[in-house]
């Protein structure tokens, strides 16, 4: 993660760069533009459950705040594009401290090769990250695919044709969101998009840290698909299969004896549009991490075995209410081996 002074400079830069107005939309007939965008969301997780907490929450308590704000500027001049996006987020994940932090989420310069194909350089989503939840209709996102997410030092190519989509990215010395080295990361996707059926397959591989962090090599394949049964009812599926090498021993600062852990996740979800404002969303979920499996050869016995056993299954039912175009109010309840009982959130975009 970037350090605070960098963030401060970047923030000052944004505020001084544009005009005095906080919301500026500048554009010309050539398509060149500068846009300020952002969102503010308030809400969080209710009744989080220690028994089923994998790495979701820094603490298991009645309410874990998940409030979030983002502010960004994006622009295009001729074929060149850029984007700077700052997130103000809670470090509410396991190992975090629950406090807010300001982080640069994206900072890249792009180039549009054609209208359908473009490239980006800098800190941006890796290619797979753009579709890692494809097929998962839930607002709170169900099963988490362990792809690389945002990375610095990334080159990304993406294409979007009428139906075919494809993308690939390369990240030099990628890092886990905790800042730990993971090695170079290559991932990509290819998909077919249509109104009725859409399918995306994502792939990822990384080079490993060679003893510097617990992260070794990794290979992952993900699948996302949507099927629109009728105009107001859709089904989705999202799944991944991952073989991730993790260190099982540490000597001094050196991580040693990496072993392969197989992780599997599956979400099946559906979305029903009651009307323009109301949606009903449900999901069933299955997750299986080898690290949870007591009888796997590489179980870490320094930890107590998880109460949910080697896998975790739950279901959800939720509503999204959109009182206006840029407002979403969401409520989701979960049942089964879920790390939380409910999720409630209000989000406004601009």
């Amino acid at each position: 993660m970037l350090n605070k002074s960098t963030i401060a400079i970047a923030t000052a830069a944004i505020l001084s760069a544009g005009s005095a107005s906080a919301v500026v939309l500048h554009g010309d007939k050539n398509g060149d533009h500068v846009r300020l965008f952002g969102e503010v969301g308030v809400g969080g997780h209710f009744a989080t459950n220690a028994k089923y907490n994998h790495d979701e929450f820094f603490d298991t308590k009645g309410y874990v705040d998940d409030s979030f704000a983002t502010l960004g500027v994006t622009g295009k001049r001729q074929q060149f594009t850029y984007r700077l996006e700052l997130d103000y987020q809670r470090r509410n994940w396991l190992g975090g401290d629950g406090e807010f932090e300001l982080a640069i989420d994206k900072m890249y310069v792009g180039y549009n090769i054609t209208d359908e194909q473009w490239v980006e350089f800098g800190l941006t989503d890796t290619a797979f990250d753009d579709y890692d939840h494809f097929g998962d209709f839930t607002f709170n996102k169900a099963v988490e695919t362990g792809e690389a997410g945002d990375q610095e030092n990334t080159v990304k190519y993406q294409a979007k044709f009428e139906n075919l989509i494809a993308g690939a990215s390369y990240s030099y010395e990628g890092e886990h969101k905790s800042g730990k080295l993971q090695g170079d990361i290559i991932n990509g996707y290819v998909g077919w998009m249509s109104d009725t059926v859409s399918v995306v397959i994502g792939l990822e591989t990384r080079g490993g840290s060679d003893g510097i962090s617990k992260y070794g090599k990794q290979k992952q394949i993900g699948l996302g698909a949507r099927y629109k049964v009728m105009s107001n009812l859709s089904f989705g599926i999202n799944a991944f299969l991952e073989d991730e090498d993790l260190s099982t021993r540490k000597s001094g600062k050196v991580f040693l004896d990496y072993q392969t852990f197989r992780n599997i996740g599956l979400t099946i979800s559906s979305k029903y549009d009651l009307n323009d404002r109301w949606e009903i969303i449900s999901s069933v979920n299955h997750e299986e991490y080898e690290g949870w499996d007591l009888i796997s050869p590489n179980y870490d016995y320094t930890k107590l075995p998880p109460q949910h056993g080697k896998d975790r299954r739950w279901a959800s039912l939720g509503f999204n209410f959109r009182p206006a175009k840029d407002i979403v109010l969401s409520l989701e309840g979960r049942a089964g081996e879920a790390p939380e009982a409910a999720y409630a959130y209000a989000r406004m975009y601009f």
């Binding site: 290559i186 080079g207 490993g208 003893g211 090498d245 000597s251 040693l256 990496y258 016995y301 320094t302």
Partner: protein, 1090 residues
């Protein structure tokens, strides 16, 4: 009158009053024998008034074993005079008895006897203990008023005797007497107790009662010793199922010896031999009353015949049991000889000589080729027996020292059991006729005067020693309840021995007999393993260990003496790398034990000039220890202690010969099993009030260092181990033992059916883990150290091979850190996999027709210290050996002062020590070192490993192994080019001199280029032969060379390197493309190998 005088007078009057009638208090009866449990004193109030005994003191007067008299007042448990508070009625008696006297014995007293028990007070002597040489007196105030037994007596004057006070001539009660007049007492032998406690006195003219034996006049009623002995293991005069004859028999013979060990008494031999080799012509007479008898006298004795601890014997409580004919007939010792009817049983042989005066000839079995003699199998030392025969002595064995049964035979196999039985059969304990004080051998003056010259070692032949053969109980048989003991024969030596009687089959040597001659350009690397016998420096200025223990020297002098011996033995081995065991686990700082020992060893290596490099004192010989920054704080200090024991293992090596590539610590399994409890669930304690078995057991962690042999690219990995000992138990030992509701249990009674000692299963668990972890390490490997397992015990079978497919089971409840080692529920696993290492010392000794051994326990020897090499290394082994410099010697020679007599002898290093100590190599430890020599050729390399070429004063030697198909000719020129592998480093190569070497001899196989000035870096080297300016075809060779400074002699942190299982950081498009091919969700998994 002053007040104080007045009060004194009053006090005096009161005290006089308290002792009114004390003149009527008499000692009236005494029983005494060599057994203190039957000693009694009867006192009687002969007056007419009641007598208060408060303030009257009663003393035992005796002589101790050093012939000094003592006077001990009898006290009660609270430390007050024993009879304080006792009121003795007129004409009443009371009896004082020893606390251990039996109820049965007390019942033999007169009816209604009043008995006072004299309690035993730990470490005090204020209790009644009469054993034949003691007297007794009554003291009132400062004055002795009555006495039995002469003052200043030192003799056994009253063995098995009752003395009764006689009445005065006029029939009245006798008066007190401060001196002992034997005529005033009726003397009864053997002892009678029927009047003890009754105030009856014999008349003044009562005769002594002596139960006197008279030899029958009818000679046919007299037996000879051989008739008593018969031809079997038991006397024919004892009925089946009994241990004693019903009647006394008269036996006549000539006294051949008088000894006090193993039991006090004398030996009778036939007046005329029966000339029957099947029967012994001698017999032992147990007696402590034989002080007036002389060897050579003829004795006719009346005694029952008994079998006691396997020995047929007679006994005599008093001198009235025999008639003496004062002859002086010498007894010639009989040579022990094996005969056909012994059927190979040496016990049978010895049984034929039981009770006889014998000689150990140079050849005990003339019918067999060569000399079969007796070999020392335990050097002079304490025998640690669990019974009354605890003392210092030696053990010999027929033909060869006793080998531990599992040393050559698979533990639990019939062969191992047979070897155990043979050891029992071949054993002969060597005793002295008087008890040794632990530092002198009564029969070997030369040893006592100069033990360094006249040493006795294991495997010495003991010849022409003369003495008498006895039999008695020795070792406790483990797991027997009630306890049973082995019965062994002993020879009590009666002649004076000299160095001629001890033939050294393994004489002392000042350096190990290890070949390291190599052919051609090869060079040898010597590896050894040495136990440092608990070298602790923390009490003497070293770093403290965090376990709060000190198992080593007890004083500064002892410490310096210990260190001096260890330094000598390490230097004498001249090893290039040495594994150390039993060194204090106080980390790797400058004041650690390992730093101390290395510094002291290095002191002698001072010759710096290049011309001295091969000399004995060259700086090239200096060692450095391998430090592990175990807590990862980037410092080597006392906090880096390894594992959970106060002792650890260590590795030292010579940077001139080897360079470290990688180090690591293999954490060994721990046992975390349930505590052993009885049927009620109560924790059972042992005889020391410690928990019998708490289920928590540990190995020392293994140190693993991978070296690159300098001038080669060959890896050599050493794993140094010290597995859990055999001495204390693990959970497995107590499974199947029925404890009932017992809360204490002797920890030495754990069953040991296969002679592997305790924790064999736990050592298997350790061996399995070690074998598994070592599999991940590439290159040549050596597992060495103290595996606490003999050659064919389970852990060694696991690491080597298990040709007989023995079922080998691990311990239960073993964990690697918090993780179960085998099954989740802790159940044990049967191990069928073996790891193929070669027990190289055993193999090399087998080629030489010898047996390796490195340790002596009890009277068995075997190897606990092993060198196990990977098969890849076998062809490099030049030689391997044990060096019998420690285990063969008596522990008297070690540095410890305890039990060694006076410590007033100045040593060469300015300390004081005992007379057995010298600053030499012998008995520097209790384990012998094991050594191996390996052969390398410069330029040998493992795949993808660069040659390790350390610089010495900017010079390196680059080896060039000329391909075999290139026949060099005199005058050819070898050329070399070296280029840094990484151009970007911009190395200064201006000083580098790449020489051409002109070949001086046809068919040269190896060239060493002396390259000067090459900077430290990885180089790509190309070498070739040029003839007439042209490169000879096929001669060009390319390889990588790692030019570096030598490993520092200053302790430096050696961290574990990444094992490259964590990727290399490069995702690579190939990986992604291969992923693209996996749309079918095919398995991605792979096996990771280090």
């Amino acid at each position: 009158m002053k007040k104080s005088f007045l009060s004194l007078a009053i006090a005096s009057t009161i005290s006089m009053g308290a002792h009114a009638g004390v003149e009527d208090l008499l000692i009236t009866e005494m029983t005494q024998a060599s057994d203190p449990k039957v000693g009694t004193i009867e006192i009687t109030n002969t007056g007419t008034t009641e007598l208060n005994l408060t303030g009257i003191e009663f003393y035992v007067h005796g002589a101790n074993s050093r012939g000094k008299n003592y006077n001990n007042v009898l006290l009660d448990a609270d430390g007050k005079p024993l009879l304080d508070g006792q009121i003795l009625a007129p004409n009443a008696s009371l009896v004082i008895v020893e606390n251990r006297s039996s109820e049965e014995f007390r019942k033999s007293f007169a009816k209604d006897a009043k008995v006072i028990v004299s309690p035993y007070r730990p470490k005090k002597y204020n209790h009644l203990s009469l054993n034949g040489d003691d007297g007794f007196y009554i003291k009132v105030g400062d004055k002795i008023v009555d006495r039995v037994g002469a003052s200043e007596n030192k003799e056994k004057w009253a063995t098995n005797t009752t003395l009764r006070r006689k009445k005065a001539v006029d029939g009245s009660a006798p008066s007190q007497s401060a001196t002992f007049d034997a005529s005033k007492w009726q003397n009864i032998m053997p002892m009678r107790t029927n009047t003890v406690g009754a105030p009856n006195l014999p008349d003044a003219d009562a005769k002594d009662i002596m139960d006197i034996f008279t030899c029958p006049s009818d000679k046919s009623e007299i037996k000879s010793p051989s008739e008593v002995q018969g031809s079997g293991f038991k006397s024919p005069l004892i009925a089946e199922g009994k241990t004693e004859s019903d009647e006394k028999v008269a036996v006549e013979g000539i006294i051949s010896a008088k000894v006090s060990i193993p039991n006090e008494g004398f030996y009778l031999r036939n007046i005329v031999s029966d000339n029957d080799p099947e029967t012994s012509d001698g017999i032992f007479v147990k007696s402590s009353a034989a002080k007036d008898l002389k060897v050579g006298q003829t004795i006719c004795i009346g005694s029952k015949v008994a079998e006691f601890e396997g020995q047929t014997q007679l006994s005599a409580d008093t001198a009235f049991s025999w008639n003496v004919t004062d002859t002086n007939i010498a007894t010639e010792p009989t040579d022990i000889q094996v005969i056909a009817s012994d059927n190979g049983s040496f016990d049978k042989t010895l049984e034929r000589y039981e009770g006889m005066l014998v000689n150990l000839p140079t050849d005990i079995d003339p019918e067999t080729d060569g000399n079969q003699d007796m070999r020392i199998t335990r050097s002079f030392s304490y025998n640690f027996l669990q019974n009354s025969h605890r003392r210092n002595n030696m053990v010999a064995a027929y033909k060869r020292p006793n080998l531990q049964p599992n040393h050559l035979h698979v533990a639990g196999s019939p062969e191992s059991k047979a070897a155990y039985e043979q050891n029992n059969d071949y054993r002969l304990v060597i005793e002295s006729s008087t008890r040794s004080n632990g530092t002198t051998l009564p029969y070997y003056k030369g040893f006592n005067e100069d033990p360094h010259k006249n040493y006795i070692r294991i495997d010495d032949s003991l010849v022409n020693a003369q003495g008498v053969i006895s039999q008695y109980e020795t070792e406790l048989i483990p797991g027997t309840n009630p306890r049973k003991y082995d019965q062994d024969y002993s020879l009590t030596i009666t002649n004076d021995l000299t160095s001629e009687n001890f033939i050294h089959n393994l004489p002392r040597t000042d350096k190990p007999d290890l070949k390291d001659t190599v052919t051609g350009d090869d060079f040898a690397i010597r590896v050894s393993s040495q136990n440092l016998f608990n070298f602790f420096n923390s009490p003497f200025g070293g770093d403290n260990n965090r376990f709060g223990q000190s198992r080593g020297a007890d004083s500064h002098d002892e410490y310096l003496n210990q260190r001096a011996k260890l330094v000598e033995i390490i230097r004498a081995q001249d090893a290039d790398v040495m594994a150390l065991m039993e060194i204090e686990n106080n980390g790797f700082g400058d004041d650690s034990a390992i730093a101390e020992i290395v510094n002291q060893v290095n002191v002698k290596y001072v010759d710096e000039r290049a011309r001295d490099y091969n000399g004995p004192n060259s700086t090239e010989n200096r060692y450095v220890f391998v430090g592990f920054d175990n807590n990862g704080n980037q410092r080597l200090d006392k906090l880096d202690a390894i594992g959970s024991d106060a002792i650890a293992t260590g590795i030292i090596y010579r940077p001139s010969k080897l360079s470290i590539e990688r180090t690591r610590v293999i954490k060994m399994p721990q046992q975390k099993a349930p505590t052993i409890v009885n049927d009620l669930g109560e924790v059972i304690k042992d005889q020391n009030q410690e928990i019998l078995e708490n289920g928590q057991n540990y190995h020392r962690d293994a140190l693993v260092v991978t070296f690159i042999v300098n001038q080669t690219g060959k890896r050599l990995t050493l794993a140094v181990n010290h597995l859990k000992s055999k001495g204390s138990t693990c959970w497995e030992e107590w499974q199947g033992v029925e404890f009932g509701d017992a809360t204490t249990w002797n920890n030495r009674t754990a069953p040991d059916l296969d002679y592997q000692g305790s924790c064999a299963e736990f050592r298997v668990a350790g061996a399995v883990h070690l074998g598994e972890e070592m599999e991940d390490i590439p290159g040549d490997k050596i597992i060495l150290g103290d595996l606490n397992a003999y050659g064919k015990e389970d852990p060694v079978l696991v690491l080597t091979e298990n040709p007989r497919n023995k079922t080998i089971v691990t311990a239960s409840h073993t964990f690697l850190g918090p993780k179960p080692q085998f099954n989740e529920d802790g159940s044990p696993v049967t191990i069928s996999k073996t790891y193929g290492y070669i027990d190289i010392v055993a193999e090399k000794f087998k080629e030489k027709g010898k047996t390796p051994w490195s340790y002596s326990f009890s009277d068995e020897i075997g190897s606990l210290d092993h060198i196990l090499v990977s098969p890849s290394l076998k062809d490099r082994v030049i030689d391997a050996t044990d060096w019998h410099v420690n285990a063969a010697e008596t522990g008297l020679y070690d540095y410890q002062n305890r039990f060694k007599g006076a410590t007033n002898i100045a040593t060469q290093i300015g300390t004081l020590s005992h007379k057995f100590y010298e600053n030499d190599i012998y008995r520097a430890s209790d384990h012998d070192p094991a050594l191996i020599s390996l052969s390398y050729k410069p330029g040998d390399a493992d795949k993808d490993v660069p040659l390790k070429l350390p610089k010495l004063r900017k010079l390196i030697r680059v080896p060039y192994q000329i391909p075999a198909n290139v026949k060099t000719q005199k005058g050819d020129v070898a050329v070399i080019s070296m280029k840094p592998d990484n151009d970007e480093e911009r190395l200064d190569l201006t000083q580098m001199v790449l020489p051409n070497v002109v070949i001086s001899k046809d068919n040269t196989a190896l060239i060493n280029f002396e390259v000067f000035g090459a900077p430290s870096a990885l180089f790509n080297v190309t070498v070739s032969i040029k003839r007439n300016g042209e490169v000879v075809e096929g001669s060009e060779q390319s390889f990588q060379a790692d030019v570096s400074s030598r490993d520092s002699l200053i302790a430096d942190i050696v961290e574990e390197e990444p094992d490259h299982t964590g990727g290399n950081g490069k995702a690579g498009s190939a990986g992604f493309i291969s992923l693209l091919s996996l749309f079918g969700l095919a398995a991605l998994r792979r096996r990771i190998r280090k």
